[in-house]
Symmetry: C2
Subunit: 200 residues, 2 copies
Amino acid sequence: MRLWQNPASPFARKVRIVARETGLLPRIEEIAVMVSPVSPNADLAAHNPLVKIPALQMDDGKVIYDSTVICEYLDTLHTGVQVIPSDATRWEALRLQALCNGILEAAVLCRYEGFVRPEAYRWDGWVKGQFAKIRNGLDALASEAPAWGARFGIGQIGAACVLGYLDYRFANENWRSRAALASWYETVKDRASVVATMPA
Amino acid sequence: MRLWQNPASPFARKVRIVARETGLLPRIEEIAVMVSPVSPNADLAAHNPLVKIPALQMDDGKVIYDSTVICEYLDTLHTGVQVIPSDATRWEALRLQALCNGILEAAVLCRYEGFVRPEAYRWDGWVKGQFAKIRNGLDALASEAPAWGARFGIGQIGAACVLGYLDYRFANENWRSRAALASWYETVKDRASVVATMPA
């Protein structure tokens, strides 16, 4: 399989952590591409009309996206612990993944506002609105984290990607003021899958 | 169950069409709320930290989101034709849903750019980049539509929401120039679920 990704993309990172947690990495070629909403990549565009990463070419040649679809697909290819449960806890896991995706979408929009959009067109009201979502989301993660225990499923993988992305792009955002979240992150940050995919 | 939604939201519409197609509407109270990225809604915020619609409160009181999670959950509550297949065609259906979600995300960002952001801070480069995704996506839908036949699963429901949203918010965008897509839409636009949820 071929995975279009970039080490800076938190959505691609989610897939790359799943690939490592499930032992599937040897079957996946990770192809690094640079994309932004205003500078598309021709190779990727031929496989994903949205020109977004991650995208995965399966062994049959077909391409799937987005990160949630790829993670669920990969989860069917191994016999270890499921990343996405099939039992009654599925909805809680998928909701937590969606919460993390939403925080990341808000953070990526803020990144674009500050680094892609020309300075004259930046609007503080937009960044404030997105940061309200980020901080409400972090409050929710902090309230939920104590119940996670040692579980490292799709929701927790998403949370690790959220916190890693904030450290990487918004180092001044003091998310560690939420003690429950900070202490949970300490329990996962040294996992091999997390270390190997840390944005540099 | 309670569904936070708004008739103008294409993501909420996806859920509302699924509720009608699967016969679940009598079990769902649809609650209309107004939200924008810069004016959150307190009732919704108490249930979804991202303050986004749609969000669904299940009968056990727990709340799930986003639209993809809600649609999959609803699909487990009925015994009719599955909206999201469980067989090998699942990945194609979920990829098509993700394509439609991506087109809608780009369109909604353009809507915010043109109607939420103050005029002085609007940037043509952003709208151009998002419209490239919308049009690439529409080209892909047009190339795929002839193979859909009479199927009206999650991917086709997403496509109907894309086309309805463009008519509603971007009526000058001539997506019907893609004949295959225009003729497919004619086959679904009069379905009861589509008519009942058409944004006005």
